[in-house]
Point group: C2
């Protein structure tokens, strides 16, 4: 892509408008029912395990059709519905003022409402109820996670309060803002994304100029990817048409960090349409890599073996690639870290391993 | 300060030269002894508990005078001394090429040396031995921690590969590079630093324009401050003459996050001269704040009470301020998070709390 399309409204403005109208609609629905002398009630999709389904076509977890109704006519539900309206109102105000609050702040703010929460767990659940009822992410509602996202390095120009280029922000690059949907992509001169689990590997790639060599964005995931990171990866994949490659430690935990980016988590089935990137590819460290590159390894611990067996039964791992690699890892009984390539020198991973992997990927495509 | 002094050599160049000469000197010392037909040996300061002393004048932990000698004439020490020379040589190469490696990468690289390590713990210890022998930080030697430092927002211009201004890098600001001593400060138009424990509070401050209102740098510590963060705070305090104020959760853990920035840790006594900022001030949340602002609280848990009692006996907490606040917290039996000010609205902390605190600080000064 040469230039990101300049639409009349920016991504940020469109999301804001959409969310604001959704929140306003929720209130109007209640008002209308009251005006018709009906008892207001809201349809809340169920988030129970029984309603979380792996969608083969979409290649991620989604919510099924089950839902509950919350009615002001039911004494047990009045409190919860009231809280939801308060939270929606709080969020509408945040969205209008382009502000955010952490869910922790919301909990404290609610002390001033007539209908406060018993504890933060209760306020978190109502936040999720609203998310699932409106089909928007918490971040769109102005409710911010505590954690920032990954680090990004490479030739991507974006607008996040100011115009920045992720290759000109110092060695640690651009930090993905928790409110990544308030960010617009302006220009991009790379042709792929290479996401790695550790910041050690991120800095290795930056030092070896991997962003120039592979014409890629380098993303440092910092372990399990934050929601903002998953949203960022989804957006660059779909809006900028960039293929995404993930390289993590070669163990069940590294596998799953990649898989949650690819196919989403069951817990967030209601927002996976915004977070999952089914076309992202895990390129290593695989059990085959451990053998082919004769990597320094550690023995699988009992907990690793148990986890690998769990993964092999998970619908997200049912493809041939995963089944083969999981079996192979169980067979050799070993795991390896991504930094273990430095056995062959610090530059090896960039000079030899990634070029081989990218060639392999191109031959597959 | 208007402009950072532009010396002939940059901070980065001076540190590089100093470290390179230290490493070269270590090798030369050994060669000279061999040429004199002496058995080479190295003086390694002791890092044992008995040699870690709280220095009342410096106001942080330092190493005492005890040291050991490692000699090639002692069969038990040959291996360790050999490893140290290999690590020093590896680091000399890193410094010369302006590269870094994680201690994990060094461990894997060492597989190619004739004198490899049994496990990473052994290689870490040799890295620390070198640090303490030379009196330089690991980062100066090119050995990088895995983690990036804090987020910084505000009008500070620095050179980190490129010239950047921390108020023009997106909502999450500048991420402190793990190799912060390779960074030069170019210009600074703030008069203080406000460091906060959570990224939730960091984003609150940015949103409420606290950097303009208080003419400060906002630093988001992300919990226990990384070494790079502590070094950054030390540098802005001493090189740019900026007073540093820290606001954390009002509990023993928040107290200690501040205290490690102020007085350093015992474990890193050998590098506290580079990391500790004895003039930094903890401004809250104090036990007095909990009472004065009638904050939402949680009950102290047993582990909190235990920790508070430990802190009260720690030499770093012997001043009146800390003794009073610890006693008060034990008496009320309650703790409060920094985000709990949002009980009075999201803006309260910036509109009311911090202005009151800064006024108090100025009256004390």
């Amino acid at each position: 892509m040469a230039k990101a399309k300049k639409e009349e409204k920016s991504h940020k403005e469109l999301r804001k408008e959409y969310t604001y109208n959704k929140l306003k609609g929720l209130g109007q629905e209640i008002i209308e029912e009251i005006e018709k002398n009906k008892v207001p009630n809201l349809k809340v999709p169920s988030r129970g395990t029984g309603n979380i389904v792996y969608d083969d076509a979409k290649r991620y977890y989604v919510l099924g059709d089950r839902y509950g109704r919350r009615s002001l006519g039911n004494v047990k539900q009045i409190r919860k519905l009231g809280q939801m309206v308060y939270v929606a109102n709080f969020c509408k105000d945040l969205v209008a003022r382009e502000k955010t609050a952490t869910i922790r702040e919301m909990y404290y703010v609610s002390e001033g409402w007539g209908i406060s929460f018993k504890n933060q767990q209760e306020s978190n659940i109502v936040g999720e109820d609203l998310e699932v009822t409106l089909g928007t992410t918490r971040e769109d509602l102005g409710l911010m996670p505590e954690e920032d996202g990954a680090s990004v390095y490479g030739d991507l120009t974006l607008f996040d309060e100011v115009e920045v280029n992720a290759s000109k922000m110092g060695k640690s690059g651009y930090t993905i803002s928790p409110t990544i949907d308030q960010v617009d992509f302006l220009d991009c001169n790379v042709d792929k994304v290479l996401a790695v689990e550790t910041m050690g590997m991120f800095h290795r790639l930056v030092q070896e100029n991997a962003h120039k060599r592979f014409n890629c964005l380098i993303v440092g995931l910092k372990g399990q990817a934050a929601r903002a990171t998953r949203r960022f990866i989804k957006r660059v994949n779909t809006e900028l048409d960039l293929p995404v490659y993930i390289c993590n430690d070669g163990d069940p935990w590294g596998f799953h960090i990649a898989q949650v980016i690819i196919s989403g988590s069951a817990k967030l089935a209601h927002v996976n349409h915004d977070l999952a990137t089914p076309d992202a590819k895990f390129i290593g460290v695989t059990a085959s890599d451990i053998i082919n590159y004769d990597l320094p390894t550690d023995k699988l611990k009992d907990v690793d073996v148990l986890r690998l067996k769990e993964l092999s039964k998970d619908p997200r791992y049912k493809g041939d690639f995963w089944q083969t690699e999981i079996k192979k890892m169980l067979k050799i009984g070993k795991k390896a870290e991504q930094q273990s390539f430095s056995k062959y020198g610090l530059e090896y991973v960039v000079d030899t391993y990634f070029p081989a992997k990218f060639e392999e990927m191109e031959n597959q495509a």
